[in-house]
Symmetry: C2
Subunit: 248 residues, 2 copies
DNA sequence: CGTCGTCGTTGACCTGGATCAAAGGCAGAA
DNA sequence: TTCTGCCTTTGATCCAGGTCAACGACGACG
């Protein structure tokens, strides 16, 4: 049982480059980001309390139990959210992709840890300053509520997966989720790209790496998918995978 | 694999009794309810768009995929939230107790079904009317965000449980959760009361009823707990159970 | 006060996925 | 170039928890 490696503390953020009123320009790629909850003319207010940063793989963005001082918008890369048991068993509760949001917390503390899987660029907001903005821009708060509701719905899907699906069903659901979230269709021209390792897939699905590997080779033998590379997947028979996943 | 029984549609709500400005008086029992997010003088506005109702066991409050037209505050009884796979496998994603809230939804639709386990009394709000109130009372919206953040944290705990805990650890976590949520300490004088059946416990923990039953008898033989009745549990060795649960 | 249906318990057995072990592939370091 | 370390795959074996089956307790209902 591997305890996760420690990493260095977060580097101090660089100030947003001058002349760039919205360092979070990339946020607009997905519907869930904070930036597009505001009108164009109000964006500078948001930009003023945010700073853009880039970190390397394995960098920890937030640790379970930390004071929830910051909110994050991921603009590039992939992040994993996870919880640990005292003996090191790990459950990944979600992956974040560009445009996704991080930082909702109950009782002022993060309930999970977040670690960069790839090189990650994000936009960080000071929570206390944001709280003041919330008073001025109720739209922002409504957006946060929408984000939370979405995350809740995904969490419930994941509970169904973890509690009641078989290994094959879990993998099928995972691949379809990745296709949906990453925007890659999984055709031979645009295969799915998996930024995470088998260990991380296993920790997300409540399985072991061996089972993940075995099911993937099963799928390959059954012509449900092809793997031009370890981290590239072509969904050959999407309908069959969708049937397996059970409409989630 | 049992497909869940159909139940009759919800009865039409009775109007709140005259002279009772706040039919949701019981809401104040827990910190998460809607009512106590408002000042005393604003409560009538909230009461005006709500109605109190009581339903029998097995009554369905909301069904997965329904238009999310209502929000609910549970004032008495126990409700289960669940999701189904096409073949009838069920995952219970949570239980609601008095003071708990129901109705957050993404994309205007409920992502889960909710069914009364016991006789249940609740207070129902019209979502569209509530949306108008939200503009006037930002406090309400902040409360909703707080509720959502809390639910999210609980969902993540549950993912850790479902994905990575053993049957014994799951049962220990469940019993401690029930003690915390119900406010019953689990002493011989005030034993834990379980309103749900073994099937429902199993569907919550991702187990079978047989395993739930076996682990409970194990615990009894190990003097970790006593069962003065099928649905009453005395936690004899809380520290041992907490160790098993893994500090959640 | 039997009969029926539901719920919980227990035993016997089975199996999906975990565990243990070995080996190949690949990237970065020397 | 070889070496070293990590990741992945594959095979052999094991076991926690599932499945199947029988039975007892209890409440509702005639």
């Amino acid at each position: 049982m591997k305890i996760h490696r420690l990493t260095s503390p977060l580097p101090e953020p660089k100030p947003a480059p001058p002349g760039n009123d919205n360092p979070c320009a990339a946020c607009n790629v997905r519907v869930l980001s904070l930036c597009d909850a505001l009108d164009e003319q109000d964006l500078p207010r948001l930009a003023a309390i945010s700073s853009s940063m880039t970190v390397r793989p394995h960098q920890i963005l937030v640790a379970e139990g930390d004071n929830a001082d910051y909110l994050f918008n991921i603009t590039d890369g992939t992040v994993k959210l996870y919880k640990l048991l005292p003996d090191g068993r790990q459950q990944i509760t979600g992956f974040l992709f560009p445009g996704d949001f991080l930082g909702l917390a109950a009782a002022g503390r993060y309930a999970y840890s977040a670690e960069a899987i790839t090189k990650v660029t994000f936009c960080r907001f000071d929570r206390r300053k944001l709280d003041k903005l919330l008073d001025d821009f109720p739209k922002l708060e409504r957006r946060l509520l929408g984000i939370a509701s979405n995350e809740l719905a995904e969490a419930q899907d994941q509970m169904l997966l973890l509690g009641r699906k078989t290994a094959r069903e879990k993998l099928a659901s995972f691949l379809l989720m990745m296709a949906r979230r990453s925007g890659l269709p999984g055709t031979p021209e645009q295969p799915l790209e998996l930024p995470m390792t088998r260990t991380e897939i296993a920790d997300y699905l409540g399985l072991t790496i061996e089972t993940v590997s075995r099911v993937l080779t099963q799928f390959r033998k059954e012509r449900l998918l092809a793997m031009p590379a370890l981290d590239r997947i072509v969904l050959l028979d999407r309908p069959a995978l969708e049937r397996l996943a059970g409409t989630v």
